[in-house]
């Protein structure tokens, strides 16, 4: 759980203060700001948005804080996160984390062929194995491709991902993106 410690450290530095109690029901209301792109259940409605339903709460909260503080930048998310309080971020992260995500590999595909560099954190089917890693299952391949390239160029930084992406070629990036992009994702919304 070294990663989680790093993550929490990052949050403190970012000025989030001590963790606040989260409330998924309040988060559901906040999610009205998210649903046009990410869906109310976290199944994305547009290609540029990732699926966030059933994602680790810690990852979601950390990313929203990163957008809020400017550590991560996106033409839409930076605007959204700037207007959210730390409490709202905790709540909406709790809402989206409360759903259940299930991933299924396409027919005829074996887990043994999953990208070796990714599976220990993101799983063979793209369901996260740690608090600090996003699910990748069923994301649009171009979304994953874009993020890996952002880590490679330094537009986005992360203790582990920056190093991994640094040595990847465009073709390797696309192959990984295609692997996770082909996974079928289902999200069951919590009540």
């Amino acid at each position: 759980m070294k990663l989680a410690a790093v993550l929490l450290g990052g949050l403190m530095l970012a000025g989030a203060g001590p963790a606040v109690a989260d409330d998924p029901a309040a988060g559901r209301k906040v999610a009205n700001m998210c649903r046009t792109c990410h869906g109310l259940d976290g199944l994305a409605q547009i290609p540029i948005a990732p699926h966030i339903g059933g994602e680790p709460e810690e990852y979601l909260e950390a990313q929203l804080m990163a957008f809020k503080t400017g550590a991560r930048e996106h033409e839409m998310m930076s605007v959204v996160a700037a207007g959210l309080s730390a409490q709202q971020i905790s709540d909406v992260a709790a809402w989206y984390a409360s759903h259940e995500s299930r991933a299924t590999l396409p027919e005829g595909v074996s887990v043994e062929d999953a990208p070796a560099a990714c599976v220990s954190c993101h799983g063979a089917t793209g369901i996260s194995e740690l608090l600090d890693a996003p699910n990748l299952a069923g994301e649009v391949n171009i979304y994953i491709d874009t993020q890996l390239k952002a880590f490679r160029t330094g537009r986005r930084t992360h203790e582990i991902m920056s190093d991994i992406a640094a040595d990847m070629t465009d073709e390797e990036i696309r192959a990984v993106a295609d692997w996770y992009g082909a996974v079928q994702l289902e999200i069951e919304m919590s009540e």
Binding site: T36, I46, P47, E75, M76, N141, I142, T146, G154
Partner: protein, 421 residues
């Protein structure tokens, strides 16, 4: 900076006899080899088509017009109708370009399958045609050309050339996913015009000069072999629709406004450009609204910002646009501009998801904008049934509307009811 690598001997007979290879790395191009790529076909009947047909009753069009489902096309974005009208090429923000085929001209697509499956596309949002039948596809960071695409789309390995090599449209660090949906048009001067959205809400000051030189936050033009690249339009935030006025050659384009300034400002824009190099104000202004981040930043010297011709409703997301050059629509529409509003993403009350019409006067200025078609937004719930992205016209003058949310192409035709007996 760029070079064209068209296949040698683009003679129809040669190509027909030996389909050319079109691999992503392009290195085998000159070897005239086949690939083992296969097509993905999209079912045009069944549950998906039925669900889309169910949306039609909600769509409002003016009296005398009729709306129908033209094709089931996942993620349908910008469109280019081929010169013969047999096929319409449709871009996506994913990795496919779709060939939407209507061989029998019954104005319903017979087949939809992916174009050039042997090529690894990367956000191939923007297809456009030259009058002599060269298809251009502007991707996130590459521009390809496909000679005689209307004839070679039937095979998985069409002839292909590189107009702008991968990584040379913009620096790799300036790629994004959202503001990197390119559109293109071949202008009356025969040059290729490509929009380059800037990948921020408002770009940081330290990028101003670099962006200005490259044309990010603008429209660039180049010869169709990629040579002679220059910045044609400056001061745009993120334009995803442009077209030339057939009457006088003016370039018109839409622009998307800054987010985070409230529900009702700044307005969306429809702009008219009358000469090369004109500056449309961004990031200092968005229409007449000043952008706070740039209040104290010196404006470019000796430059007068061109104001938009039309201020559209804020955050409605004006995207694809086309001049009406057909003859089957009533006279009031001829020579005017149809434009698609994709709909807002974070406005308190959603707006948009409709097709707008802007008439022009004799001087070529905008003379009034109205809603032409709407109903894709369910105003009672704020949910989208569909989100129009682009408009294009078939040879019979009827309109196609692409919809990347519903995954459809809608057709709007003028069918005046026969006079009653």
């Amino acid at each position: 900076m760029t070079k064209t690598t068209l296949l040698p001997g683009l003679v129809l007979g040669t190509i027909l006899a030996v389909p050319a290879v079109a691999q992503d790395n392009m290195d085998k191009l000159s070897n005239m080899q086949r690939t083992d790529a296969t097509f993905t076909n999209i079912d045009q009947s069944g549950d998906r088509a039925d669900a889309l047909t169910g949306i039609l009753e909600h769509i409002n069009v003016p009296d005398g017009f009729e709306v129908s489902l033209y094709a089931v096309v996942p993620d349908a974005r910008s469109m280019a109708v081929a010169p013969q009208g047999t096929v319409t090429f449709v871009g996506t923000r994913k990795d496919k370009v779709w060939s939407v085929v209507d061989r029998d001209r019954d104005r319903v697509a017979d087949e939809v399958f992916d174009f050039a499956p042997s090529i690894t596309f990367d956000v191939p949002n923007g297809p456009c045609f030259s009058p002599d039948g060269f298809l251009y596809i502007a991707e996130r960071n590459r521009v390809l050309t496909f000679p005689a695409a209307e004839f070679f789309f039937e095979g998985p390995d069409p002839a292909v050339g590189t107009v702008v090599a991968k990584g040379e449209l913009v620096p790799a660090e300036e790629e994004s996913f959202n503001h990197t949906a390119r559109v293109c048009r071949v202008g009356p001067d025969g040059k290729l015009y490509i929009s380059l959205g800037q990948p921020h809400n408002v770009q940081p000051q330290d990028k101003l000069e670099m962006y200005d030189q490259i044309g990010i936050g603008g429209i660039i033009r180049m010869n169709t072999d990629g040579s002679g690249r220059e910045v044609y339009t400056r001061g745009i935030r993120n334009s995803v629709g442009h077209d030339f006025n057939p009457a006088n050659g003016d370039l018109w384009f839409t622009d998307n406004q800054v987010d985070g300034m409230g529900d009702d400002i700044p307005p969306g824009e429809l702009n008219r450009q009358t000469e090369a190099g004109q500056h449309f104000g961004f990031p200092w202004t968005n229409a007449r609204v000043e952008i706070p981040d740039y209040k104290d930043v010196e404006r470019p010297e000796g430059v007068a910002f061109v104001e938009p011709q039309v201020e559209m409703q804020a955050h409605a997301a004006d995207l694809g646009m086309s001049f009406y050059q057909g003859s089957s629509f009533p006279e009031k529409y001829q020579g005017g501009i149809f434009s698609a509003q994709h709909g807002s993403w974070n406005r308190t009350t959603p707006v948009g998801a409709r097709v707008m019409f802007t008439a022009l006067d004799e001087e070529g200025n905008a003379a009034g904008t109205e809603v032409f078609a709407d109903g894709w937004l369910d105003e009672s719930t704020g949910e989208y049934r569909g989100r129009p992205m682009d408009v294009a016209f078939l040879k019979d003058g009827s309109m196609l509307v692409s919809d990347d949310f519903a995954g459809a192409i809608w057709r709007i035709a003028y069918n005046p009811a026969p006079a009653s007996e």
